[in-house]
Symmetry: C2
Subunit: 471 residues, 2 copies
């Protein structure tokens, strides 16, 4: 191989650099230090890594050409949407080429007759939602990051969100896709119809694979008719266990709300410190509930929700009478993540799931774990599907606290698994959870997953250092 | 290897036979001719094959022990539920060991609080549905064979049914599973929670893999609250295109019925010849529609359906006023398959899907294809999701007709793909469609699928001769 020279890093030799630049042209291939800094970070807020180069392709053929070169020169390829993932999926932990997919931002087609859309993976989730809602259609998955996250990133992480309790997650809305494998081959999977069982389900294998099998270059998405109306309400409880009982009562009453979120006492206080909304700080828990559908049905369901909240000792139940009131209710819920950033210099942000009925038990366990390690643990999230965002708060500069926070996270995962849960509901494993994955996945299954990866990416260049434990 | 002797076939040498019998005991391992005949057939009605032995294990450990022996002695293993599949998935086309899973018929758990059930794969679908409905819960997938098909078979084929338009298919209700790989390893995949993204989605990879990756030994299923009520109606049209326009109008009106089935003129006549129900034989098409949910909503939706049928030139619309009337409406729809068996000595039964809006175009193509080959083509199925059951009728004893029927099927698939569809919505590929799979799946994707298979089944013993084209 030729000797390394110039300001770019040693991983991409000049010959490879020249060929990659020739694929994209100089405007879309960069080794400038400022680009390497920018694309060395993501929303997981980890110590910076540096890629060796940044590519911004615009066609599947360009992606394929880059990956063929990466194969030839054994260069890691890190696919990236908006970098809004919380588990480090977009970080170039072993250097290499960050492949930024934001130029793939076209809506090729919105087919209202067949409730299908075909889009590029670089499209921002909220932009797509606005486009389909403008024609009376609905794309339910709504991760908290939807204003900047991309549909391709949502697909790679199988993003969830607040509407999963009724509508499911990203996986449930991807009918088919186009991707470039680790071999550089462009493949098409799935269908553009409601059903399809021809060969193995490679679509859903690529969904949630965190960029370790290939790069998604097109998505065929399923849409629904836009619900005609929605009703929003909040309920405040003295005690979290009353809120949890309400959730169980809703299931028993056959009500499946579109959204069923909760905040614990600490997250209520944290948000109120941040935004001064005058929240009920004496409350032990808040539920935020939305029902949707034809107006009569959405109202009837909201009536049932309100009644069940009161029957389960809610201090107060507030119905939103206008969209602005609903928006105000959402403001508190949406502010939790930014508020938590101010509450301590570090937070380990997890997204465990337990069977819905075990939420109260899990909350007790979280209290115990916080006490044991002398750290504050703040919880909020998706009560309807048992998906709890658990934030272990600590001071980053304090190595002892950092160590304890990590031990607390391990205890949180152990308790989660003991209660029949999973260590990640919607954020994936990435880098932050790979040291814990073998708590949930047995060695023979991890080994099978590695063999599956090899089928897609024989040279092991796709997003190395993610999901799988190891050095 | 020891010499072959005895009445069993040469593939399983006496040494292997002895070891397999030792795993199960003599009652559950058979090489009796009558068992070999029985387990050489399935509902795909193909010339008989013969397995070399039949095993009826009862535990995952027994299955694992059998598969380890099958690996050692290179014996094909053919997993089988009820044998109700229509594409030959359960046929021992290369001999070997049929592994009958019907003793895995336990319901381990129905968890109403978390809307989850854990079951054995040998449980009959309708028995499970009855068990969950008895406690106010709902398992929506309902293949036509549900009275005898097993949940494991449904999972292996990703079975659909009449409720897929609103509720999705089997894949959408499987949260996790236990399976024995082609290596003999027992693995657990997925979660028992509403969400989960830890590692690759092996659950949905096994679903629809037609027994070629492993044997499913347990299923974790998602349940819904049972809808409180339903409304059933039939609408009769002069012309199929009016029925198709009604389907489009329903989408535009944001109505998603629980069921939206159609029968064409030929299937109406065929059923009436069979059951003498006094159907409207002058009609060109019938729609059978069900709406469900809270009573007011189900009624309101049924009102909208009735109105839209009439606006789109329905000759008559009949609402069922009592469950018996609804049952009578279903009788015609359910009788199609048996009725078709009487209409000709052979039918090639396909289950294509086209985007819903292309149904009228597809029906014209089917007419053309029938005329071109001089064969009757009868169509019915799931209008709501574009899934059309296309039966090419022919006389089995006539080699020339058989040849033409096969050519017609190829034309049907070509037209389907041209209209953006898929060659199988819910039956899978099995043996009957493997010679056509490369019309839909490109060689590099088939080759990727073969590599994925190797990751699960390195020796290639799991259900050989299925899905993939070749000798």
């Amino acid at each position: 191989m030729p000797a390394v020279s110039g300001h770019y890093s040693p991983m991409i030799v000049p010959e490879a650099r020249k060929k990659m630049e020739a694929v994209l042209g100089p405007d879309y291939f960069s080794t400038r230090p400022e680009d390497l800094v920018l694309y060395g970070t993501d929303a997981s807020n980890q110590p910076d890594f540096r890629p060796d180069a940044v590519a911004r392709p615009a066609t599947p053929e360009e992606v394929a050409a880059l990956i063929r070169l990466a194969n030839e020169y054994r260069i890691p390829v890190i696919p990236r949407g908006a970098g809004s993932g919380l588990t480090g999926g977009a970080l170039p932990v072993r250097g290499g080429l960050v492949c930024v997919m934001t130029r793939f931002n076209r809506i090729f087609e919105i087919d209202a007759d067949n409730l299908i859309a075909v889009v590029g993976p670089g499209l921002v989730t909220a932009d797509f939602q606005a486009a389909v809602e403008a024609v009376g259609l609905f794309y339910p998955p709504d991760p908290a990051s939807r204003d900047f996250s991309t549909l391709g990133g949502n697909a790679a992480e199988n993003a969830g969100g607040t509407r999963a309790v009724k509508y499911g997650v990203t996986r449930d809305y991807i009918l088919g896709l186009q991707a470039v494998l680790g071999t550089g081959e462009i493949i098409e999977t799935g269908v553009r119809t409601a059903k399809g069982v021809v060969g193995y389900d490679l679509t859903r294998l690529l969904v949630g694979s965190e960029g370790t099998l290939g790069v998604i270059t097109r998505l065929i998405l399923r849409l629904l008719p836009l619900p005609e109306s929605k009703e929003t309400l909040t309920a405040w409880f003295d005690d979290l266990s009353d809120a949890a009982r309400t959730v169980a009562a809703l299931t028993a009453a056959r009500v499946v709300p579109a959204t069923l979120e909760f905040m614990d006492r600490a997250s209520i206080a944290c948000v109120d410190d941040y935004l001064h909304l005058g929240l009920d700080r004496a409350a032990g828990a808040m539920l935020l509930v939305e029902t949707d559908g034809p107006p009569a049905q959405a109202r009837a369901e909201a009536d049932t929700v309100a009644r069940l909240c009161l029957e389960n000792n809610a201090r107060t139940v507030k119905r939103a009478d206008a969209p602005e009131e609903a928006e105000a209710m959402w403001r508190a819920r949406r502010a939790i993540s930014p508020a938590l950033f101010r509450a301590a210099s570090g937070k380990m942000n997890e997204d465990i799931v337990v069977p819905r009925s075990r939420i109260p038990e899990m909350m007790v366990r979280l209290d115990d774990i916080g006490r044991k390690h002398g750290l504050q643990i703040i919880s909020f999230g998706h009560a309807g599907d048992g998906n709890i965002h658990v934030d272990v708060m600590y001071e980053r500069q304090d190595p002892e606290q950092t160590r304890r926070a990590r031990a607390a996270v391990r205890d949180v995962f152990a308790a989660t698994l003991e209660l029949g849960g999973t260590i990640s509901g919607e954020h994936g494993i990435g880098t932050t959870k790979r040291e814990f994955i073998d708590m949930e996945i047995r060695p023979e299954v991890l080994s099978l997953m590695r063999r599956v990866k090899t089928a897609f990416d024989p040279a092991g260049i796709m997003n190395p250092g993610k999901i799988f434990p190891g050095p």
